[in-house]
């Protein structure tokens, strides 16, 4: 493998990892705070993408410039968080926090099944493609290979901003500290007057919005079609479990590891590209059961 190919694979890997990280971020945040592995996260990702495509299409049809696609991505993400994430937590998850893990997981699985059909009813089964945002930013050529600015620069930049922003939010702001306190010990937090219900609701809305944002950002780079959520969710599971559940920085590194692993596989042995994320996951978990960055959970006696 010569240096050029190495660099090219690196670029591809980073662009891919950025997208996976944004989705995995929401998943790991929700798990970290609420101890719920949200299977419906994949559906929220898909709906974020669908919403962006519809909104952008409508705005372009009204004669707005393609750059409006960017604010519309944020709008879609917030809509997903508030209109879907909010009710899911408020109507369903709130009732099952004291139930066994299995049942919690299955409730989100049921929501996933329902949302898969909702997508089909709302958007049909024909693929959508809306790349106005990506075209607006143009291309760059490196080593004779043309990349889109959107994938090579914007996506990694957004991913990095979200990582730093979320760190800052959790460690430096009051709401963030409340969330962390609730995560550490829910009962103690409640005894000092923190409204745990509100914290959970807020966390879930933010997590769901991140899933929606992942979908919104992915939308110009891919065809939007039924089933896209099911693929993304297993990949984010792999990232989140490999990193250690609830580990935000870990998720960033793991996403990078998986993204690079996949793109190098495409360059070296394309047939194994699908296998790479799961192989990494199994190998890591066999050596470190709690994930790369997780700490062993205290045992209940």
């Amino acid at each position: 493998m010569n240096l050029t190919i190495f660099v090219l694979a690196l670029f591809d890997g980073i662009a891919y990892a950025a997208l996976v990280f944004i989705v995995a971020l929401g998943l790991t945040l929700i798990f970290g705070v609420m101890r719920i592995l949200n299977v419906a996260h994949g559906s929220l990702y898909a709906i974020g993408a669908y919403a962006t495509v519809s909104l952008t299409g409508a705005f372009l049809a009204m004669g707005f410039a393609p750059v409006f696609a960017f604010p519309l991505m944020l709008v879609s993400a917030i809509l997903v968080g508030v209109l879907l994430g909010g009710p899911i937590e408020w109507l369903l998850l709130r009732r099952i926090y004291d139930k066994p893990e299995v049942l919690q997981l299955l409730v989100t699985f049921a929501v996933f099944m329902i949302l898969e059909d909702v997508q089909r009813l709302a958007w049909g089964s024909q693929p959508y493609f809306q790349a106005a945002a990506l075209q607006a930013l143009g291309n760059v050529t490196l080593f004779g290979v043309t990349y889109t600015v959107y994938q090579l620069i914007l996506l990694p930049a957004v991913a990095l901003t979200l990582l730093l922003g979320l760190r800052f939010f959790l460690r430096r702001t009051v709401i963030g500290k409340l969330i962390l306190a609730t995560t550490e010990d829910r009962e103690a937090a409640q005894s000092i007057g923190i409204d745990a219900d509100k914290v959970f609701l807020l966390t879930f809305i933010v997590g769901a919005a991140l899933a929606g944002l992942g979908g919104a950002l992915a939308s110009p780079t891919t065809s939007i079609l039924p089933g896209m959520g099911a693929d993304m969710i297993v990949l984010s599971f792999a990232v989140v479990a490999t990193a250690g559940l609830g580990q935000i920085e870990g998720a960033a590194l793991t996403a990078l590891l998986i993204g690079l692993g996949r793109s190098f596989a495409v360059y070296v042995w394309p047939e194994t590209a699908v296998l790479v994320p799961y192989l990494i996951m199994v190998l890591v978990l066999l050596v470190r059961p709690e994930g790369l960055f997780g700490s062993p959970a205290a045992r209940k006696i």
Partner: protein, 334 residues
């Protein structure tokens, strides 16, 4: 935490009158056995449900230890592919040979994976199983020239005790074999739960540390249960593959595993009978909803599951038992 544990506690007396329960089970089995004559168009559907029910029983076993696997479709697929490869290597192989080979393959796979995953609990146990099944799925998808890729490989009709049967006769044989497996393996599983190893296994759910104080290795207990669950999934996989005549990587896809857990909880988590009741309900809803309301069958099933979890967490079997208990009580008072 009360939902599953009451079913899991082995020393809990059978609810209602035991005789009543046995009678209900026998009646249900007799009704199933009559399907090919009373409602022949349902036969295949019921057979597929029975195959799934066997696999769901495997997931149910793990639920008794409080563990949930999101990757048990792996064993389902290993057995089905094992059968298909055997048929390709030995055209006209016997159905029973196929069953034994498939189940042996699934159990062996269960041993290999089980040795690793029994060190984990809870979400990690589930995720690691998921990862193993997804690896197998990727291999099935990618190595097209061996596995037939996404389209899978055909599993031609095997012979039965040396006889080549026509479709109708063969399906009848397969149907009653499935019922026999349901009874035999179901009985074995219930007996196993009551055995010393089975009791230790179920203690993992309630108090694992106590096992260690007793000087028992929880990993060994979990591994034996894990092997049983892989075996059961394998039996289901072979029946499913033979009934459909084709095996595809979709057998190992994570949604299949999710479906199995789904059915287990739907029927009644931890209940052997519930596994089959759940599988029958699931298949019927799926088939009829997709025939009459093509776009929303997933939504219906998802909604159904939510209602069960929120309002009847012990599943359909729990509802049935509650009714049975009430009847029994009213009889007692009389």
């Amino acid at each position: 935490m009360d939902t599953v544990s009451s079913a899991a506690r082995p020393q809990a007396p059978a609810t209602g009158a035991p005789g009543l329960r046995l009678l209900a089970t026998l009646l249900a089995v007799a009704a199933l056995g009559a399907v090919p004559f009373v409602a022949p168009t349902m036969q295949l559907l019921v057979n597929l449900a029975l195959a799934k029910g066997l696999a769901v029983m495997g997931v149910t076993v793990l639920l008794r230890a409080g563990q949930v696997s999101f990757g048990h479709a792996l064993y389902f697929a290993v057995a089905a592919y094992g059968g298909a490869f055997l048929m390709a290597a030995m055209p006209g192989a016997d159905l029973l040979l196929l069953l034994v080979a498939g189940v042996a393959g699934a159990t062996l796979a269960g041993l290999l994976v089980g040795l690793f995953v029994v060190r984990y609990r809870g979400i990690f146990f589930g995720m690691l199983n998921l990862a193993f099944s997804m690896i197998f799925w990727s291999i099935l998808e990618k190595f097209y020239h061996i596995t037939g890729g996404a389209d899978g490989i055909r599993l031609p009709r095997p012979t039965v005790l040396g006889m080549e049967l026509g479709r109708g006769d063969f399906e009848l044989v397969l149907f009653y074999l499935s019922i026999a497996l349901m009874l035999g393996l179901g009985w074995f599983t219930i007996r196993w739960f009551a055995s010393p190893m089975g009791q230790l296994f179920q203690t993992i759910k309630t108090n694992e540390t106590r096992l260690e104080y007793l000087g028992v290795s929880p990993r060994r207990a979990l591994l034996s249960g894990y092997l049983l669950s892989a075996l059961l999934c394998g039996a289901g996989g072979v029946i499913m593959g033979v009934a459909q005549g084709v095996v595809t990587p979709e057998y190992a896809w994570w949604i299949r595993s999710g479906e199995m857990v789904f059915i287990a909880v739907l029927g009644g988590s931890g209940s052997v009978q519930g596994a089959f009741i759940g599988a029958l309900i699931y298949e019927f809803v799926r088939t009829y909803a997709s025939a009459f309301a093509g776009d929303v069958w997933q939504m219906l099933l998802g909604g159904f599951l939510l209602v069960i979890i929120l309002f009847a967490p012990r599943g359909v079997i729990g509802i049935v038992e509650a009714i049975g208990r009430r009847t029994a009580r009213s009889e007692d008072t009389r």
